[in-house]
């Protein structure tokens, strides 16, 4: 099954949105029968980007949209984008905070954060290669 498969999701930036979005991404990943640890890692990174957007993008005002786009290209490259139209605030690391981006960077093969008209976190993941056969 080559080509690119897409999943596009939209939700309000509320804490209760994170779980169903994550489960929808999990269902998308399950189609490709990926390595379970790899799929879990993708969900972990997606969850961190999502939680960060929910917590910070629209802080102090009514929550607005967050969009999530997952794409699996030719069974080689998996990417997930999480973006909002809120404010990007460079936050200083507090003693018990700030692990989200560190976790994302530890998992993804490439991470790009664009802050033009909101915040877009683009994450790329390389599935483990299957050997043998």
């Amino acid at each position: 099954m080559l080509g690119t498969s897409h999943l596009r999701l939209n939700c309000l930036a509320r804490p209760e949105s994170a779980k169903p979005i994550r489960h929808a991404v999990a269902a998308f990943l399950a189609v490709f029968e990926l390595d379970p640890d790899f799929a879990d890692d993708v969900l972990t990174a997606t969850g961190e980007a999502l939680a960060n957007a929910i917590e910070h993008a629209y802080a102090g005002r009514d929550p607005a949209d967050i969009e999530v786009h997952a794409a699996y290209e030719d069974q080689v490259k998996l990417s997930v984008d999480v973006w909002d139209r809120g404010d990007f605030i460079e936050r200083e690391r507090q003693p018990n905070r700030g692990f989200g981006i560190r976790i994302v960077q530890a998992i993804a093969s490439d991470v790009r954060i664009e802050t033009n008209g909101g915040t877009r976190v683009h994450m790329e993941f390389l599935p483990p290669t299957v050997t043998g056969g």
Binding site: D37, A51, E55, P95, N96, F99, I103, A106
Partner: protein, 107 residues
């Protein structure tokens, strides 16, 4: 011998449960140590890590040992990815965690 307190949470620990996690991780009658039982947690995110760090610091301040039981590989890797591999005494079963707390109480 002082009693060991057990704090148990299950399921998916994430941003929607932030307040619940924060409320659960409190020191009450925990002089003999605290076993934080996350064995049946199926997913965790950095919300949980932040609360665990806060809790660990409070326990350290009172000289109370803490042991954390984690059953899910996702949670175990999350701790490593966050660079917190040495921040908590983590065990993969309750027996080992209780043994650790017993030894700490005698020390």
């Amino acid at each position: 011998m002082s009693a060991i307190s057990v704090i148990r949470l299950t399921g998916e620990l994430e941003i929607s449960r932030k307040d619940e996690i924060s409320r659960a991780l409190h020191l009450v009658g925990s002089e003999g140590g605290v076993l934080v039982d996350f064995f049946d947690v199926t997913y965790a995110d950095s919300t949980t890590l932040a609360e665990l760090l806060r809790f660990r610091r409070e326990a350290d301040g009172q000289g109370i040992p803490v042991a954390i039981v984690i059953g899910s590989r996702q949670f175990a890797r999350l701790i490593q990815y966050a660079g917190l591999g040495d921040a908590f005494p983590v065990f993969d079963n309750r027996g080992a965690a209780l043994t650790y707390l017993g030894a700490e109480a005698k020390a």
